[in-house]
């Protein structure tokens, strides 16, 4: 399956954001963060979607607790 390069870079960027939150950044992460932080193909919206997608994958694998089934509209 061909993946859009903007989406691939944003997925990597999102993983870097998560590793930064967990305090597990590597020298490579910092290098890539500099690169993608200045890449016009990487945008807030795609990073947000990538974080949601990674979160869903983790939930599916049981690495994160499931989201509540009660629907709460986003504020």
């Amino acid at each position: 399956m061909l993946r859009d390069p903007c989406w691939v870079k944003s997925r990597i960027g999102a993983r870097i954001l998560l590793r930064a939150e967990a305090g597990k950044l590597t020298a490579r992460d910092i290098r890539l963060a500099r690169r993608f932080g200045n890449d016009r193909g990487v945008e807030d919206r795609l990073l947000d979607q990538a974080l949601a997608s990674i979160g869903a994958e983790k939930r599916r694998r049981g690495l994160l607790p499931p989201l509540p089934k009660i629907y709460v509209p986003a504020v």
Binding site: G13, A14, I16, L17, A20, L25, D29, I30, R31, L32, A33, R34, R35, F36, G37, N38, V42, E43, D44, R45, L46, L47, D48, Q49, L51, A74
Partner: protein, 229 residues
């Protein structure tokens, strides 16, 4: 009757002046192909609510924009346009109908031989009139409210939020009324109340858009900061 939460389903009075005029339109359009016309202005109110609500013309626009020249040529040959008859058809560009973005979901469609007519819901017709609000437009508000009980102030706020672009500043070259002032006139005349258009309509509508368009705001800055700027 006919709340904006439902698709409009009137019994169209084809024997009203506007109905007869539209049947003449059907008669003059070539039968070799199908046509899709949108009828707006006061005509749908006459056709679906009160046949005595008369107007000088029947405003139509095309589902497919390039067709207006062909339609106008046919109507011209049949002498049905402005200046050719006292009660006439006006072919209007699509952008003139300033309705809420979801108006099609409420519109009523009816096929007459090879022509499909789309009649916007009365509440959408009213919203489109907010750009002008002449006395006749206020009468349209009064008529629709008296016959259907809609729109309520809450419903009209919702509808106007979905048409928020009418409140944008005009280009210097553009003509047109002042929709903010007009909305206040509608509230005063129809609901006997005041309204803060910015607080009740514009800001909430833009806030809803911002929620979608600004998803993840600041994440790229965070990424850049991790990389040292």
């Amino acid at each position: 009757m006919f709340p904006p939460s439902e698709r409009w389903h009137p019994e169209v009075r084809w024997d009203s002046p506007a109905g007869k005029m539209l049947d003449r339109v059907v008669a003059v359009l070539p039968v070799e192909r199908a046509w899709k016309l949108i009828v707006f202005g006061s005509a749908p109110l006459q056709l679906g609510l009160d046949e005595t609500f008369v107007s000088a013309d029947v405003d139509i626009t095309m589902e497919y924009p390039d067709e207006d020249v062909t339609v106008e040529r046919c109507l011209n040959e049949a002498q049905m346009l402005k200046g050719q008859q006292d009660f006439y058809v006006e072919v209007v560009p699509r952008y003139v109908f300033n309705a809420p973005h979801d108006w099609q979901t409420r519109a009523y469609r009816e096929q007459r031989r090879h022509v499909e007519f789309t009649f916007p819901h009365p509440v959408d017709i009213l919203v489109a009139k907010v750009c002008r609000v002449a006395e006749k437009d206020l009468n349209a508000f009064r008529l629709v409210r008296r016959l259907t009980g809609h729109p309520t102030p809450e419903e009209l706020i919702r509808l106007l939020r979905n048409a928020v672009d009418i409140y944008r500043p005009r280009f210097d070259e553009e003509f047109g009324g002042d929709p903010v002032a007009n909305t206040k006139v509608v509230w005063r005349e129809i609901f006997g109340a005041e309204i803060d258009v910015r607080a009740e309509i514009i800001r909430p509508a833009l806030e809803e858009r911002r929620k979608y368009f600004n998803q993840g705001e600041g994440l790229k800055d965070k990424l850049r900061a991790i990389g040292g700027g």
